[in-house]
Amino acid sequence: MKNIFFIRLIVVFTIMLISFSCKVPQYAILSDNANNMIVIKAKDLIDKSTDSYSTHAMEIANLKVQVDSIVVEENNRKMNQATIAMWSIVQKDKFSLYGFFDLWQQQNTVSPAAVAEMNQKLLSILNIIQTWEQRKKGGPLFNK
């Protein structure tokens, strides 16, 4: 009887463990949505960079606030060095998203031919973060 009780206990415990581990944490969903919004807004702004910087300065400032708040959240998570380092590149690297905004500000407008090229490169950089986040939550670890 004692053994049956133990077996039942283990079965219940295992079911609970599986159901908890399968549930995607709320913060992860929020993080996904926030990442997607940033990619969409960044693309929109890069597309508009043939306009004068001053006409979109407020949108750029808002996007930076969103990115900065994501980084604060990511900093509060454990075992999260790669994600933090990736966002750091987006914020601090001269040739990443914030660097692009600096260039736009310095020039006032970006050449149309450059916009198409930069859009592709900057979105590739942001997409790496999205892909990485998916892999952290159980995506493929061995595929490219």
């Binding site: 077996i7 075992m79 930069m118």
Partner: protein, 118 residues
């Protein structure tokens, strides 16, 4: 801004890039010179079509020098991001493996302790 200028001789450009890369490798990473040159050649080959396109855009005045520099520099950011992803994946694989080891310990211990007593 020139009108319809001749396209830049890309062969000359890539030959010169290769020469400079060799000199850079000899002066900065002489102990790993051959590996460094091979890595550099792979990088140049990967972004060669981009460089050709950007150089043509620059030579025809469709992009500015600062924009050309930004585009080439963005490859550096991309490489940094990919390196971080690879390093992170290696860490995740180790974590998954260690998680698997702990599961094995639990499974085996339970089988021996409880399974054998049924």
């Amino acid at each position: 801004m020139p009108n319809n200028p001749p396209l830049t001789n890309m062969t000359e450009i890539f030959t010169e890039i290769e020469q400079h890369v060799k000199t850079l490798a000899e002066t900065t990473v002489s102990n790993f010179k051959n590996e460094a040159i091979a890595d550099a050649q792979n990088l140049v080959a990967t972004i060669k079509s981009d460089i050709i396109r950007w150089t043509n855009l620059l030579s025809t005045g469709q992009i500015k020098i600062t924009e050309f520099e930004f585009l080439v520099g963005s490859e550096k950011s991309l490489v940094s991001m990919l390196s971080l992803q690879q390093a992170g994946l290696a860490q995740l694989r180790i974590q998954n493996f260690l998680g698997g080891v702990l599961n094995i310990i639990i499974d085996v211990a339970l089988k021996k302790v409880i399974g054998n007593t049924i």
